[in-house]
Symmetry: C2
């Protein structure tokens, strides 16, 4: 059993990105610049955004954290986005979700210039991904592909089961793994809350992508010997023995499942760091293509 | 066993569209206008395009067939597309594929204004489809969904196997049937040339979409009792007993498979007419939204 070490891999990729940035700057060019917009003061969102900003600093990017009160109107937020679209010194930006309920996330998403959409959420990027055209891959699926590639995990002809059909993980993952590419060329089954017989479907899978957001959902009896398991879940579970008051759990019952696997990602230290590093790669790409 | 009669259903939908057009025109508005661009003189392509133009006339649309010699340069074709994009009296248009090999189909596709892309092939429409936003559905998958809907075929919780991963049929079909919608909410498995054990995968399917383009590929022993079978294939097979010199065959061995099915589409008269009618629906939608 091999642990797919997302933390170590992400550090390696950060070194590679930092090297590109150093070359860019020493040739007289400005470094890539990523902005993150955070509305309100949700604790988990703040943690994620702070971690993204910190990663920018590690690789020599410029980064800007833009915080707004949760009382911001949709029009005010759209005006902010228009400014970001027009800022020639800004290569990419993300709008941390969720947004307050009085703001229509769809309108916000559609307002982002696809060339600065380093989260890969805009329909134009999604469509380009489906058609195999150059695009920003959504960060989590992009990070998983990169992890599989770096560990030279063979996927061709394997049966991959994706649990969860979210627009940011499950669905794009199912699309990317069926493509005629490497990683790719899987037979892919996408499953969700309406799926019947999920246990048996999982037991027949060579690769399982668990992305439903239910802690420790995937049990050992749902996994066949030798399977490759990718755990996208990350849920905070109250835990008095921790200083923070919580522990992090994935969607996989790791202790029981890992011994059966050929490859498995841990939580934390698996998909999470790879997600952030994909955001950095996308921003570097934005700088090179449109900067 | 019920035949999903695409020909009869398409006639019904054409009546509905014609009624909308009559209302539009009698209120003083111009009718929808579809153009079709045909490069070269491939026989099958000419047949398809002529059939689309004829369908426009049946429902009261204006239609324009634009033919160009196969020696047209890519730049000349792109200039033609720019004119079509700017034509305020034109609601939608299609570029009949394939194009001559000296023309880059991707460049042509990306030049089409997404608002006039009634084939639903532009990345922006594809991305909108993935995200469940308003869009033009690609014609064949859109036609299949409409056929399932009109026959009130229940799909929720069913396991659907799609054979073929083309950008215009297999892949969008797999995306549309997994959505939280009706028709939809299927567990979907997408299969292709790299898939192993396809026969067994098919035998477990409640719904099979055969879209690989190999005549009579799907045999009775690959289909379980009570399955729903949708045949997207349409291949010309040489046949001296026919006046035309050929017969049309689908991807399904209809005679042997049909008796096992709860629902099945015939070839011809199944998916084909539904594809054309979806193109008409998209053009009507274009007229209403952007005209």
């Amino acid at each position: 059993m091999t642990i797919l070490d997302g933390l170590a891999t992400s550090k390696q990729i950060k070194h590679e990105i930092a090297f590109s940035v150093t070359e860019m700057v020493s040739s007289g060019s400005r470094p890539p610049h990523l902005a993150a917009v955070l509305v309100g003061d949700d604790g988990a969102s703040l943690t994620y955004v702070t971690s993204k900003v910190k990663s920018c600093e590690e690789v020599g990017f410029r980064s800007t954290l833009i915080r707004r009160n949760s009382t911001i109107t949709e029009n005010e937020l759209l005006a902010l986005i228009a400014n970001l679209n027009n800022d020639a010194e800004l290569d990419g930006y993300i709008i941390q979700l969720p947004l307050p309920s009085h703001i229509n996330e769809k309108n916000v998403l559609l307002a982002v210039d696809p060339r600065k959409d380093v989260d890969g959420f805009h329909p134009e990027n999604v469509g380009r991904m489906v058609l195999g055209l150059p695009c920003y891959l959504p960060a989590t699926p992009g990070g998983i592909l990169e992890l599989l590639k770096r560990y030279d995990v063979q996927t061709e002809g394997k049966h991959c089961v994706v649990i969860g059909r979210s627009h940011i993980v499950g669905l794009p993952m199912s699309i990317l793994l069926q493509r005629n590419a490497n990683p790719g060329n899987c037979t892919v089954t996408i499953t969700h809350s309406k799926t019947k017989g999920l246990e048996e479907i999982c037991r027949n899978a060579d690769i399982i992508i668990a992305a439903l957001g239910r802690p420790e959902f995937l049990k050992a009896e749902m996994v066949k010997e030798g399977a490759i398991v990718i755990d996208v879940g990350i849920t905070r579970i109250p835990d008095d023995t921790k200083k923070s008051g919580f522990r992090l759990a994935g969607d996989v019952d790791f202790t029981a499942v890992a011994p059966k696997c050929s490859f498995i990602t841990p939580v934390p230290g698996g998909v999470g760091p790879m997600t952030i590093v994909t955001l950095l790669s996308n921003t570097l790409q934005a700088r090179v293509l449109h900067g």
